[in-house]
Symmetry: D2
Subunit: 342 residues, 4 copies
């Protein structure tokens, strides 16, 4: 049984475990003040080409989102998110649990547009309603679509006009940045977002997300918020070393490119066999539509999620590739697809 | 420079890193539903001699405390804690941030007694005040003292009488259980506490605390609370494997015994040299009182925290040993102590 | 300028001010334990034909909703509401501020159906999502529609099946109960809802809403929650006396009937003149669609809200009548409507 | 039975009920935007000799405190209060329920000093602890003591030095301002506090507290917070009219002077009879120490709270006078005191 269920099935890139092992018994300071975390932060600033950002390392995405949003927003302020947004659907009300409403915007493809955001903001008119204050978007989105640089620039423009913070959930930022044809670079992000995070867990780390706070007014006292939410690890070195490994050369991007390449292989073979897709996603998640009978046969050897019933005895499934996806398994799947009636 | 600052300066016991490395590329389920976590939970139940408890793995103590207390308490209910309690002093108001008051009880030695708890409860008389509902205690305490089995039984008795939950913060439970002369066993705890956690981070794990929920009414839907607080790691295997290693033989206790033995060495040498202690602590934290001048000299080669100014140009310092403390360093410290005027 | 903007423009029914004046200097107990509040609670139980309910008096609807919902729900539990629901739209995120998500269900007429609720519940499948636990509905709804007894019974049935609490926001319950043709009686409600409130502010009181908690498990310690949310008035007699006056005879229903009768007058005249309505609402709020030019002319003498742009130079407006609406003003409006081109 | 239990046993000053009755059927805007509230706010600004403050009317003290503090503080920030402070003891954790710790400072007389505050602030040193940000004090305090102008100026000075907001709970501000010998004037307060409230409920209003926000950065969007906490009354006129009556001449101060004069009568007679006091309180609350037997006899005709057991068969009791206290009852009490063995 090979799994295409998600991009966190495997552990960490071997270089990370090696680095952890080699430095294991060194005595270092706790709570993210160790030399490795300090170095990782410096390295990330260098990669972002910005000295004037604050960088904090977290162990997971939900934790990053809830800590950041609750630190950034005053009690009456709300976030605006696509209806598929992770904070709206899959974080058990983590943001609401810190007191803030998340305004849902119905979108077909997981992506917010300036028009959506404008409507959401302008329909909140007075103190009897929450005040939209932060735009939350995911790149890549929860359904694998990505934002182009120009789309982000337009959203940025609207955020400036409407005094909104722009926050980018980058759980799968690596895959988004490496998706074919996208001119968006990592170092563009501090100029576009007020805060964003670079996801490690889904791209080669054991655990770890790096939150970049770009806007000055959002930086003050941020470590207090981390501690209060249980996000300051005593052995913070665990996070620092991982980001050091991922970014001291192009490892982070190499891993994302591999995940994307594996998805490309699947996408082309599936499309070539005449199947259509639930959504056109250029990153490491794809959503082909298969006959139900064929799905059953595939499930004998592969695990993956069924995403939506499509009518006509067909369903959309989700196939996710990762930095660790085995090309041989992908080619086997493609072969089995053909013999399964594809 | 050798550090006696805390018990989380080093990484994990090497067996843990080895196990992580060996299982690294296996595909497993996420969010704590992998085979290693399942096995670790079974093993812990076996060690606790109880099948009817729920066990959840967390990455840190503050996260464990805030998730458990906010899940257990209704909005008007409060926790009672010693004034030195970690949730009162060193968690940046994490429990209050979930909406609950923590009632502080002034104690000389970090330990609550039935008398303290009774007074705190009985002084809350009506709906204009919060309702004390949970007793929080740490074992060992934040200043290294420990509860005897009989002390815990008496507190338990009062909790039953007053309808209070008893919660034990076991960040340093290993050291407490292995402290000389204490008859308290790990398997006693489910009969004494409604919930408690077994600390891994400070006793050999990279990260990891195991929360044991013993009381049935507190178990329902607990994973929802974990997810909401950002405590469900996508790669939950990271936690499962660590507890498997720590408990598949006596490693957890061996490590705690080592930490205690190193503290014993220090305690005896320091006491033998005629120094007194701020508090009489039998676990891996000791608080000797030294002349300030001697402290300065020691700080040239050792790092540790100054705990309290004692008057007469003397201060109490905190020396913490861990599973990884080097006996040679301890002996060096003792030698330097003597030559430093001890 | 006569106002049809809302049903809280005027003060209290004169009998209430008289009773307040007559009892003004009596010394009574505070915080809702005075003899008038005690008597009002007894009287309401009698009207509800139920001894086994708890009744608490509040000063406003938002306060009632946020106190009740935060007391009833555990942190991971959510409310389900129609997209037009007051808690979703017009309470500045008051429920979210207590930590709970409100799940929005898109409906055309302000009313939830069992089908809506079932879909909302069944799409929340595991601990990565909030757990729907309470159905919030308003009767009459925010757009003047009402639930029949049989509709409520069906919702009740589903709530039992799905272990959901049913909560009815009765800010305008008087008008709903008195709307022509509805067989729903006040004394039916304790058998249908787990908790509901009887709105006073919008039906003759100066301030005041009476929350009825019918389900036993929701009653415990409720006054703690009230105090914590700032809802226990020191001079609670102010609320008790009002409900005593409203319910010691049929005053509450007489007032609602007057409001409905005034709305009927408007509805018939407007319909008779050939105008259509945005929604078919049988209570004290109506939403006729007028040409914009006519609206401008009416606004010279009457104030009311424009509800929605309808295209074709027409808009829906909201006309609200109250217990205090002057029939002469209504007739003047009808006359002006005709001369304004109606 | 005559009550000295508190200062909210009676209703409102008759002028208030008269004004409510006379304006009862006027149609006015809701939610505090009516002409009476607007006028009351202007009048209060005039009395405070400050145009640049924001004023908001609330229905109770707990509601005022919880709304203000949660609006002013970021999640990791805490309030500092005397251990007797109302928010610490008698508001059921209302401030904690909004997420903020209240740091308790043990004081003998209900009053904070710069020394207390400095110690509380300086013992919070890093991000593992909450950040003290607001000083909460009550004037008069919960045990009847008052702050002199010079004491407040010194606290103010420290707050400026330590970047703390100064918040004054004025539930009994009238009595404090009118206490004999105090040079503190109402118009001094905007120069001393960042925010404070003028209590109406305990000084002649039916309900009502006026919050004055003096510091500019605390004003923004304040009505959003009020709505979110359920504090915006639909019929806000109820509050506006009361403050108009209380401040359009010296009524507010006349009422406070009456309460103080009644307490003076009691204080002198009790002291003259040789009884001592639990605390030296110059305002409308006094705490004489009586033999228990005498207390029992007095309780046959008077109700009051027993405050503390003093040993030697004596207890401190609390006697509270109000704007409505009947001088004849006071004189009767004094007579009975003598015959009861005083």
């Amino acid at each position: 049984m090979y799994s295409f269920k998600n991009d966190y099935s495997e552990g960490a890139h071997p270089r990370i475990l090696k680095a952890l092992t080699e430095t294991n018994l060194e005595q270092v300071d706790g709570y993210g003040e160790d030399r490795y975390t300090v170095k990782a932060v410096e390295l990330l600033k260098h990669r972002l080409k910005r000295d004037d950002v604050d960088i904090h390392l977290f162990s997971g995405g939900t934790q990053t989102n809830l800590t950041a949003l609750s630190a950034f927003l005053r009690p009456h302020e709300a976030a605006v998110a696509a209806s598929t947004g992770h904070i709206l659907v899959h974080e058990t009300g983590a943001v609401e649990a810190t007191g803030h409403k998340v305004i849902s915007v119905e979108v077909p493809d997981g992506k917010l547009t300036p028009k959506h955001i404008r409507e959401a903001v302008e329909s909140h008119t007075d103190e009897h309603m929450v005040k939209p204050r932060l735009v939350y978007l995911s790149n890549s989105t929860e359904i694998g679509t990505i934002y182009t640089k120009s789309e982000l620039e337009k959203i940025r423009q609207l955020c400036l006009e409407k005094k909104l913070y722009l926050y980018v959930d980058g759980a799968r930022l690596g895959s988004a940045l490496c998706a074919a044809g996208d001119a968006l670079k990592l170092s563009d992000l501090p100029g576009l977002a007020d805060a964003f995070y670079i996801g490690g867990t889904k791209n080669g780390a054991l655990i770890g997300e790096a939150l970049i706070i770009c806007r000055e007014e959002l930086r003050e006292d941020f470590r207090f918020h981390m501690k209060q939410k249980g996000a300051l690890l005593a052995k913070g070195k665990l996070l620092g070393i991982q980001f050091l490994e991922l970014f001291r050369d192009d490892l982070y991007f190499d891993l994302a490119r591999h995940a994307n390449a594996m998805a490309d292989l699947l996408r082309k073979a599936i499309g070539g066999a005449g199947h259509s897709f639930f959504v056109d996603s250029p990153s490491n998640q794809i959503f082909p539509i298969f006959p139900n009978e064929m799905i059953s046969r595939l499930q004998e050897n592969y695990s993956f999620y069924i995403w939506a019933q499509m009518g006509g005895d067909r369903s959309a499934v989700r196939l996710v590739t990762s930095w660790a996806t085995d090309e041989a398994a992908v080619r086997r799947f493609i072969g089995d697809l053909e013999s399964a009636g594809g």
